[in-house]
């Protein structure tokens, strides 16, 4: 933007993938009838107390380590107070001045990175639905564990915000912490943006953007806001400190509330929860459970398999895809072929059928078998696709599929010879042309045999049989 530097900060909520809630034994499930995933603790009944879920701390610790944050061995849960019908206790249990982790960074394209301010653990609130009969409260989500990740204001462009979220999501998924699905709400993002004159070191007035339900929306909303603020400033106006809601279908944001007066949350250390004290051994254990991160995996694929940048990016898009790739290779397939088939055949097909990779009807071993048969020329490019399609709907081996489909390559000269003789008899002038030196005329004969065998004839064997037969007939 001309004359102004854009300053963007992001606040991301990632749902930590546990079976039960942060402070209650109620199950965490995205679906389910309203108020059926609710324990006394989640309603905030009189007399209840929060019981911390150890798994949450493990996952949050792993997320922080994967992002390069520094785990704080002493952290504390605090109560954040406000009255709202989706908050049954009148306070949210979060972390305040002593969060679980500080620092860290996320690459945002080129050689730029965005530093992280902090990562802390907190509980989600319930959900309100406004209806004709009044406002309805669903507490299924109340108490679901979240990690809140706050960036430093290092992002300078909406595209960088997109890259930040993409890379953050990739790392969190790899660390096995969350599926980070923005549509299902297991990853949510609020963005704040301000402009300052180029060369200035004083930030402008921040506007907070909400209702950003996908990476694209984040970028679009920031681009819109960048233009809006530029126009306001260019016209000599002042940007108001406010929260604006993004209306994606309209392509614009609308003011929701002013932020001129900050609410007083009266943070208090939660007296029901002892401080969270970890030790180095615990942190090391969690670090060991993270496994390989996307960047490390991409490097390894380049080195071990000599794959291209495009291939390794596709394979390392999430942990499962890479794991699958490695299983195909481990079953004896070539890396490049495994990559191509996984990325270009299997994944698009599964997407079309709305099936998760983990539920794939074709196992990595079965796919590897297809690739091996292709390599040994038992299958052709064409027949291999038929086998692949058969495998998608039938729980059989590739060999069995070939038999079911009658697709075995005809590599036996005794079987192919009569067909060759037949073809020459049907197209004598083609045979003559070949003999007279018109080599291209042989293609017509090959095509005929292929048609008769539905593509099953071994091309090399066919070529040599045709040539020897024509030569012998002369």
């Amino acid at each position: 933007m001309t004359g102004y530097t854009t300053v963007i900060g992001l606040e991301v909520h990632v749902q930590l993938g546990t079976a039960s809630k942060l402070f209650s034994p109620a199950p965490v499930q995205a679906l389910g009838d309203p108020n059926t995933r609710v324990h006394h603790v989640d309603i905030g009944l009189p007399g209840v107390l929060p019981r911390p879920n150890q798994k949450v701390i493990e996952l949050a610790t792993r997320a922080a380590l994967a992002l390069g944050s520094e785990i704080q061995l002493y952290s504390e849960f605090a109560r954040k107070h406000y009255f709202y019908p989706d908050l049954p206790k009148g306070y949210q249990i979060s972390q305040f001045d002593l969060p679980l982790a500080l620092g860290g960074e996320v690459p945002i394209g080129g050689d730029r990175t965005c530093r992280l301010h902090r990562l802390h653990v907190e509980e989600d609130a319930g959900k309100l639905t406004h209806s004709a009969i009044g406002t309805l409260v669903d507490l299924n989500r109340a108490g679901v564990p979240l990690a809140e990740i706050v960036s430093e204001p290092d992002i300078r462009a909406p595209k960088e915000a997109h890259t930040f979220l993409h890379n953050l999501r990739e790392v969190i998924r790899f660390a096995g912490v969350s599926d980070c699905d923005m549509e299902l709400g297991s990853m949510r993002c609020d963005a704040n943006i301000s402009l300052m004159p180029v060369g200035s070191d004083t930030y402008g007035t921040k506007v907070e953007l909400k209702n950003l339900n996908s990476l694209k929306m984040v970028q679009r909303a920031l681009e819109y806001e960048e233009r809006r603020q530029t126009a306001v400033l260019a016209a000599g106006g002042k940007v108001l400190a406010e929260t604006r809601g993004w209306q994606d279908e309209l392509g614009e944001s609308r003011a929701m509330r002013s932020k001129e007066t900050a609410p007083d949350y009266r943070y208090l250390p939660d007296p029901d929860l002892p401080p969270l004290v970890l030790d180095e051994a615990y942190v090391a254990e969690q670090r060991s459970k993270i496994g390989e991160l996307p960047e490390q995996r991409r490097d390894r694929y380049r080195q071990e398999h000599g794959l291209s940048d495009q291939d390794v990016v596709a394979l390392a898009q999430d942990r499962e895809v890479g794991d699958w790739f490695e299983q195909i290779v481990a079953s004896g397939a070539e890396a490049k072929a495994a990559c191509n088939w996984l990325i270009e055949e299997l994944l698009p097909t599964l997407r079309e059928r709305k099936v998760e990779l983990s539920q794939s009807p074709i196992s990595p071993a079965a796919l590897a078998e297809v690739l091996t048969l292709l390599k040994t020329k038992t299958l052709t490019q064409k027949t291999s696709r038929l086998v692949f399609a058969h495998l998608l709907d039938n729980d059989v081996t590739a060999t069995q599929a070939i038999q079911d489909l009658g697709l075995g390559k005809i590599a036996d000269p005794n079987e192919l010879q009569p067909l060759v003789d037949e073809a020459i008899a049907e197209m004598p002038q083609a045979a003559v042309a070949v003999r007279d030196g018109n080599d291209r005329a042989i293609d017509a004969l090959k095509g005929l045999v292929m048609r008769k065998t539905r593509g099953r004839a071994d091309p090399e064997l066919l070529d040599s049989l045709l040539r020897t037969t024509i030569a012998a007939n002369s």
């Binding site: 009189p46 007399g47 209840v48 049954p88 009148g90 409260v137 009266r266 208090l268 929860l273 002892p274």
Partner: protein, 491 residues
Amino acid sequence: MSNTPTSATAIARAIQNGEVRATDIVTAQLDRIQRVDPELGAFCSTFSERAQQGAARLDERQKAGEQLGPLAGVTIGSKDNLLVTGEPASAGSKMLATFCAPFTATSLQRLEQHGGLLLGRTNMDEFGMGSTTETSSVQKTRNPFGHDLVPGGSSGGSAAAVAADLCPIAVGSDTGGSVRQPAALCGVTGLKPTYGRVPRYGLIAYASSLDCVGALARTAEDLALWLDCCSGQDGADATSLPTPEPVAKLLGERQDLRGLRIGVPRELNGEGIDPEVLAATQKAISQMRDLGAEFIDCALPSAKHAVPAYYLLATAEAASNLARYDGVHYGLRSEHEALGQQSSIDTTTLSRSEGFGPEVQLRIMLGTFASSYGYSAQFYERARLARRALQCEFQGLFEQCDVLLSPTSPTAAPHFGDKQDDPLARYMWDALTVPASLAGIPAISMPCDQTSDGRPIGLQAMAKHGNDGLALQLAHVFQQHSEHHLRRPQL
């Protein structure tokens, strides 16, 4: 009742041996409540069906020759802020007048597992906020030793129930003295255990970092029995302590007080205390000296900050804990005509204005102020520092002394309405009990005398963190050599 045993220990033994039937005990206690309590107002309601069914099961098991628990057939009153499945639990508040508990508090569940029979819920100051039980929205509770006297509070109903022999043990809760002070005022024995020793799950919170489930009984021996049955770690309470060694067996180990070093902190034994109460304390000290105790004059300088620190911390936590009563999910919801089209925030404001009594509203406002932005450093944070300092001083004192002694309450039972318009004067009634609350240490109140007009006087003994057994032991020895705890009111 004349031939039936009255102490919990004796009742349990008689029932275990088949000398008395649990059903008879329950019937007798319910009869007595029906006869005596309409005038006294100790119980808000009884759990007669639950108690009778529990008793019938015990009698059957006894007949079948089964081993019964150590609390077999002991009827137990429980404060109105402890949850019992299917029974109301209102914490003395209009806000929760219609609230019915969906589970039983861990501490009460454990008593039932050991054969205890929950008899009914006892009256209390609203959410534990008060020292007279007058802030209860349910009813008035009178002191069995004088019907124009308050029973103390906030566990006033539990104290009155034990004093009037309506049950041998009544469970209470003690945040700043709410078990010890009513015990003193009603002439019974009351124990506030070490913070975290008895789980809080199912106790309606007032100030979480101070709340302790405690109990009142006639004797220290019965309190030891109670404590052993409900102590120990609870997965549902992250602040509960690892399960400790039982204490009951310690009581028989001591016949006198030889070798015991008792500190008498000046700050808790002088200024602001009624002369008759001071004299009673002196008398008890000389009795204990005769029993072999060594007395040490000592100082607890931070005690002067205890009341302000307590009221800042307790109210800040209370403002937080009571935020859940918003008229949305359960409890009282305002039906004020101004509602209708208004937003939920207004439902909350109106419901809270209608549901909470004046003392609760005062403390919520005080606590909100003390913890609000720009003030919390000056009030809440400083109060935390004062608490830390007090804890350190206690720690230092317990290097020289085994037990610390003081009166429990600066005065014997006041009359209804005394100092009604002076909340600060009322807060000073807690000056002697809040130090142990802030430190999280165990403290017991035992009857040690009476005033010239017959009002009971209580003596407080505090012990080191986790040393509940020693406080009980001291009280037990004292009770072996005195009869103050056996004095009964004329009803």
